[in-house]
Symmetry: D3
Subunit: 276 residues, 6 copies
Amino acid sequence: MEESYKSIKIEGKTPNSRVIYLYLNRPSQRNALSREFFTEFPKALSSLDQNPNVNAIVLSGTGDHFCSGIDLKTLSSVTDHTTSTDRGRFSEKFRRDIRFLQDAVTAIERCRKPVIASIHGACIGGGVDIVTACDIRFCSKDAFFSVKEVDLAITADLGTLQRLPAIVGYGNAMELALTGRRFWGLEAKELGLVSRVFGTSYELDQGVRLVAEGIAEKSPLAVTGTKAVLLRSRELTVEQGLDYVATWNSGMLLSDDLKEAMSSNIQKRKPVFAKL
Amino acid sequence: MEESYKSIKIEGKTPNSRVIYLYLNRPSQRNALSREFFTEFPKALSSLDQNPNVNAIVLSGTGDHFCSGIDLKTLSSVTDHTTSTDRGRFSEKFRRDIRFLQDAVTAIERCRKPVIASIHGACIGGGVDIVTACDIRFCSKDAFFSVKEVDLAITADLGTLQRLPAIVGYGNAMELALTGRRFWGLEAKELGLVSRVFGTSYELDQGVRLVAEGIAEKSPLAVTGTKAVLLRSRELTVEQGLDYVATWNSGMLLSDDLKEAMSSNIQKRKPVFAKL
Amino acid sequence: MEESYKSIKIEGKTPNSRVIYLYLNRPSQRNALSREFFTEFPKALSSLDQNPNVNAIVLSGTGDHFCSGIDLKTLSSVTDHTTSTDRGRFSEKFRRDIRFLQDAVTAIERCRKPVIASIHGACIGGGVDIVTACDIRFCSKDAFFSVKEVDLAITADLGTLQRLPAIVGYGNAMELALTGRRFWGLEAKELGLVSRVFGTSYELDQGVRLVAEGIAEKSPLAVTGTKAVLLRSRELTVEQGLDYVATWNSGMLLSDDLKEAMSSNIQKRKPVFAKL
Amino acid sequence: MEESYKSIKIEGKTPNSRVIYLYLNRPSQRNALSREFFTEFPKALSSLDQNPNVNAIVLSGTGDHFCSGIDLKTLSSVTDHTTSTDRGRFSEKFRRDIRFLQDAVTAIERCRKPVIASIHGACIGGGVDIVTACDIRFCSKDAFFSVKEVDLAITADLGTLQRLPAIVGYGNAMELALTGRRFWGLEAKELGLVSRVFGTSYELDQGVRLVAEGIAEKSPLAVTGTKAVLLRSRELTVEQGLDYVATWNSGMLLSDDLKEAMSSNIQKRKPVFAKL
Amino acid sequence: MEESYKSIKIEGKTPNSRVIYLYLNRPSQRNALSREFFTEFPKALSSLDQNPNVNAIVLSGTGDHFCSGIDLKTLSSVTDHTTSTDRGRFSEKFRRDIRFLQDAVTAIERCRKPVIASIHGACIGGGVDIVTACDIRFCSKDAFFSVKEVDLAITADLGTLQRLPAIVGYGNAMELALTGRRFWGLEAKELGLVSRVFGTSYELDQGVRLVAEGIAEKSPLAVTGTKAVLLRSRELTVEQGLDYVATWNSGMLLSDDLKEAMSSNIQKRKPVFAKL
Amino acid sequence: MEESYKSIKIEGKTPNSRVIYLYLNRPSQRNALSREFFTEFPKALSSLDQNPNVNAIVLSGTGDHFCSGIDLKTLSSVTDHTTSTDRGRFSEKFRRDIRFLQDAVTAIERCRKPVIASIHGACIGGGVDIVTACDIRFCSKDAFFSVKEVDLAITADLGTLQRLPAIVGYGNAMELALTGRRFWGLEAKELGLVSRVFGTSYELDQGVRLVAEGIAEKSPLAVTGTKAVLLRSRELTVEQGLDYVATWNSGMLLSDDLKEAMSSNIQKRKPVFAKL
């Protein structure tokens, strides 16, 4: 965690807490996603994934906004292969660049531990790509969202079109992606994009902290198992998903955590689980 | 129907009605799911499926609650293979045990006839597994739900992680499964987990009965066809699903029920359909 | 556009607008879907798809209703193969007939340009099949919907059972399809079936027009790309969908539209995009 | 059948036979695939599909070769959008062009009736795309094949990469597609690309005729059913495919053809089936 | 094993051997599949699956043939619903009947232990359905096969069309299913339908016994794991299949069998594995 | 390329050649796969993938054998978590370890450039996992293969069970995996596991070199495109695969390589393609 990043910031807040805070940290650019971000973000998530002291990750933005989307400079750098005179080679290189950017967002899913998006202010374009890859989303009332790419004459390509339909329904996803319209926290809740909406940023912080701490105190085996199984079952039939989770639990269900959960339950005390 | 069960109870309520009531029936244990349940429940559903006098099934709980989840004794019996000294054989046996339990829940989907969950009081853990496999869900305002497994240090493995996302959206499913938090009838309605919420248990009973009777009076061919096609299409592409239903209807659409529906419509009378 | 249709009507409303209006046009039969409709509708959509002056299509109904479903005469004509004495050949022919009808509805998805359903009055049976294939759905408060087929003793086979679950959730889709119950505009909004509900038909017209014009002024490359990628990703895993959109954009992102979007943005003026 | 085509030719050979012969018919260009071909071929197949006198189709080439692949002029016409100055619009149009060409090949699968490829001489590039979409492939010993596209610096895009692996195995398909190497009839048989190889063109003709006549005399319901079910099952799980064929046969198995097959069997005579 | 069956026969051959022999046992009808077979066969397989003394199953036929296909009486009984006057109800019932028959064949896959088909003489129609569901297939030179259904005017519906393509390639499967032609042992080997072909029935018996005993002496955990993982991976992407087997092995790899395999290897002795 | 590896070795052989040779390089252990291998191999492939001077990779083994499978020490290290007293945590960690090992093999597919396996001597267990992930396989007559895991009481988990069925057919894959039997070069060719078999190791070297050089001189855009599209289409339906390749080629077909291929063709000279 001592590693220093430019585009992001990592912080613990409470001693002994297993919750860690990861901030998009370019407040002067409304946390626009820079080239560096796409390298640093997956690196940070991978390191948090391997850190046994971390059970849950809160993803937030410093300053007034969560994220204003991809940095125009980043976009330009990506599209700057135009110097290549070969149409085919340009496309081949460009495709790999997009895959690279996508991969940084998918890092959220590769991380075994739950990532909770705490959203205030703008959550635009690339910001939506990021939060749809998170496991839980909370926001404040003043948060506003837009699948903005269509207004930049771009077909969104960092994950929103793939992940949003399962979250808000296919019809809502199409409408939001075709219109690019702005919507606020309360509607985000109604649509199912966020699970809870808070009156103020302060309340959002408190609410997120409470939930994150709650998850961090649960069995890390069960928490990471739940995330993994839900993610994988998303693309399996019900029958295949049932087989998968039965196979998963054949090795993992019978754990010290299960015993601790049961005995603490009987003893009417809070369970304490080992690190993962 | 004369068969006697220990963990469940089957009742007709109105003479000549094609609605049957199946109760989880261990009220003193808040209808916790016993070992017996996992044998009796699929057996009962299979027999109701073959009973031509039954067109619709209401699933409910006796006493104050719908279902408090899997019985701790059942859980213990499942995890009790620890006497086996072979890690591999334990897992192999354990996996089959989980598959067996899952199968009892999936019996709801194997039953051609619609199963309507009528939920009051607690619907916890295994209870959620069961209701997500039902075709329609109604509840009273005081019903409360929890994807509780995570608090027992368990990755839920009886179907909730596979079926809930399609019902309440992927984002909501993840939040509910990671937090295990309790939510009540009104929120269940908002999330789409139940189709309607009623003020009292009495109103719930009346409402469920009305809807169940309504379905039971419709063409059983069309009702079972609709359930079968929706279930299968859940795992097919739209194009594959369209092909499937066209193939289905090529043999089944032109039925006596269609004629009866049409002529009763012209004659402005209630249609009467033969048994299935 | 000069072509004349019997069951539908095509109209531009504003000079230079790239929005076109396609009406179901048998108001005296509450726009019931005739045999002709199933030939004319896909033909019209295909021609609008190829018309470079059209960027967005509004689908609506003349008279008091959007659509009362399939014409009983059409249904009879379909089921009229009973004259065939061969059970097998009847089914084979009947299956192809259903596929043909389905294909007319799927024409909405084959059309690259977004189709916005503007729904007032009745939207019943085949009307629901049609609107679930549309890209955006708006309605007035007095609009009412019903997945009516079950009451005709029919398993719905023109697309509702395949497309509705992704829009309103699997649970809601099952309940609506099994009960066939009527629901109104406000509930349609709550369910996610429509994106917005308007107080009156007049307001609906205004609202739809505004949104349609907004989309029609966006980059047609980005709009059709968004529709195409969302449709295809619906049946791919997230990983496959990400690969698909990266491949798509490798050839299409770097366009004149992107340059226009960027420079108009800098120049703080409205972008003007070439036809597609 | 009276329709006259430029790039293909359609012939019956024996009176009362239900076998029809479709020839690629530009022998002076070794049956290279012209622009016209891509319009005429699907049109011809669709018309043969609807012709009740046709039960089986033999696809062959006039002159010394089956098919030397896509005409360079066609290729140039496709790539000629370079006049378009917009990179994005070029790609968008180009993609639709490729889809159009693909569609002409897929017409073989859309045709309900079996298409038997009779291959002699060259079967190169586009020729391989075509034969892999056929239902049965026979060739003479002197037939030679090449997945040639890689030598034109092209990733094959008319179907070979999608269909060949299921026919010859994934490993063989990769080797053939990466090397573009030529292989002859006997190896084609060994690889499973053709079902039989004949010593001479004459023997090929005789052999194909015999098999085609044999199929044409079978129940057209069973023959088209077998083709349809195999095609659809190719993309379903075994369980989904079993469900599909059971549903198919629920309407179609019990036919006059079944009765005729059974009674002719008992009477030890050749069955005679009605047209489809 | 003491249970007595009419259509099949179960035999051990060598004391202490973990190989069991299951015979189709109606030699006078060339082992045609009777109604009873479809009940007894899955019952027997399920009981062998649970029998810890059985590690491998050989499936063979008594008398001169393996299996001549479905009994005409069985077929008649299935199609005998024609007494039902309702076309729709007939199809609904008929579909379930076919599903029931299919299920008896799929019982081979549900059995955890490998089933080795030992084929001599006729293997026709339903016989092919059965052997394609087996795990290993051996035959004698005089064995002959035919996907015969097409000659009975039937689209094969007990599994051949679903399983054969993965075994012999899609092209060969289509040719065999459309022509229904007879082919012998040597060609079956060439096509990949059988793994080995033996000169005589006696050699076949010896060869099968050797292989079956060999498998029966291996770790039953590894053998059943290999079967289960191959079966499941058949319908998963490579990535999903890799995840599945890793999850499987996380609980099952580290077993007493692994230790025994390793220590016996070091001690250069034959391993002895516990029962499963 | 200057990087030095312990378990592998990388060599160019001919100046200016775009073929590179990657050797498994622990000849004294018959190239058993060490822990180091699983780190070095993917690293090497990734660096070759990015090296513009490399167009094709030959994978071979130094010494007398290709690969004798996973090192027993590696296996022990993997299974050594037994020190962990928590059954659940052990499985969780173990699963990740297997995923890590799998990932090293899948690196062959992630590499855009074709990897040609040149196999002599033993190719056992992990060796089969590796070669089934390669794009082309050649071997000498004395090469011998075994899906050996079953004899170690292990369900093979590094890819063979996922990739072999598509290469040799599902039936052959099951037989080889259940018996673990040894088979030689000629049978490997018959099964489709290798594309060619050579009499001696020397001839193998010459043959592989010729093919590798041939591929390396082709358009790298077309070669990498062919690999990418075949890999992706393996898990898509034919229709989805056709869409994918059309989208791919919309950006990449029109390249300098296409022009060079065409003009060199007209000028009857060897084409020279730019690096990728």
